[in-house]
Symmetry: C2
Amino acid sequence: MIVVFGTVALDTTRTPFKTVERILGGSATYCSISSQFFDKTGLISAVGKDFPQEYKKTLESRLDLAGFVVMDGKTFHYDSTFDYDLSKRIENKTELNVIGTYRPQVPEGYRNAEFVYLGNNDPSLNLELLQQFKKPKLTACDTIEFWIKRKKAEVLKMIENVDCVILNDDEARMIVKVPGLIKCGRKLLEMGPRFAIIKKGEHGSILFSEDTIFPVPGYPLEEIIDPTGAGDSFAGGFLGHISRKDKLNLQTLKDAVIYGNVMGSFAVEDFGIRRLLTLNMADIEARFENYRNILNF
Amino acid sequence: MIVVFGTVALDTTRTPFKTVERILGGSATYCSISSQFFDKTGLISAVGKDFPQEYKKTLESRLDLAGFVVMDGKTFHYDSTFDYDLSKRIENKTELNVIGTYRPQVPEGYRNAEFVYLGNNDPSLNLELLQQFKKPKLTACDTIEFWIKRKKAEVLKMIENVDCVILNDDEARMIVKVPGLIKCGRKLLEMGPRFAIIKKGEHGSILFSEDTIFPVPGYPLEEIIDPTGAGDSFAGGFLGHISRKDKLNLQTLKDAVIYGNVMGSFAVEDFGIRRLLTLNMADIEARFENYRNILNF
């Protein structure tokens, strides 16, 4: 089983081509919707009473919601605008709402989960939650600039305590303070984790382990509609494949990175999780095989 | 035979770690020194009377210099500074010197050359020179922001008239005016060439042909000393491999892109062409094989 802890949000996303308001988003949504194609996934998150019934049904039909709570108050809301080439995002408004007081708990039924993903939450909460799992085979975390600037010590402690850290290139550089990404990856491993993944948006990702560096270019997409959630969808595909294989050997990890890129590439083809919801496993396997053919030389 | 037309320069390069003054550089130098490992290469370029004898000897020992002239005046000089993470370069001074009045000619012995590389020269000169070749099998060109801003029509005409355009991502976007690189590559093909290559620095490169997109991640380097010349070294490795195979099928092109990345990755391991001059073909083949192993999954 995979357990994902992160935000379930109502996102307002503005691109030069279209604006969508209060659609289902959040790090945990993208990750769990991606991972559930591969293996059973439980979601730990909180929303407010305003959370639309339709979205609740979407989550219910695909996920285990034993760790999902509806609190008094409003759902976490994030409003942002992308620039003309969808490479930069400007935050317009962040309303934490129920997330501001939410104290997550791992339900009894999740404590034996083998695979755990801690989204870009407050690192102190991530650390607290991590203690509640019995003996996971692989724990992974993400973080963002907001926490690196405000809670650096906790971020470092979190990285020290997970098996795998999955970061964007800018955040990796911010933590390690080395400009070159290859050195960055190695330094992340020295901080504790067995594996590090640096995500580079359209340029793909790089997996690091003690004896391997596996760089993967981005899947060549003709059109990107909404880059939101690509990184969390990557994490979902990555953990999902590892969970269904239940192995941590090099071949499984490399394939998992490709599945991560596959899920990220699907996610950006429409707003929110719309594209992900249209998929079946055959679509995912077909893109995986296509990836292999494209990269083959 | 490969013929390379471009600048031979004296470069002053400043990085946060070291400054080197008036070292051998220029687009044609990087490209031709890279391609000569694979096949016989002729250089069309001009320097001034101040060009050091030592650099002349380096070129002489590796290249055919029938198209190389020493003019009255001083050698093209470029002075630039890299920022702390070597990703941005600031121009301090550009002295065109002899390049300002040089009118290149294709020597009689080069007119039957099969493979031609036109560096980031004035596109009008590139077009003029192109006419002087009889029936090359593959012609390739590069260009830079300077020319796209000043001579857009000539840049477009040049692209229309070559078989392969090799550009950085920023320049590709500037020409095509589409943000997404995959669309960018396709649009470049619509402008005339059979092949387009978009170079992405440390993120590798993407090859486009009518029926193929081949993205390659950058070779994972621990340390980059001087990014100067990576793109031209790429072009040298790319054309070099195609020339030695004397084929234009898909497999040859894909391998050529890898060899291009290999030569670019070597070039940045020291200032100027120093690292390239230490290489032998076995080093190049070893890195090519290592690339294949790294990318294999």
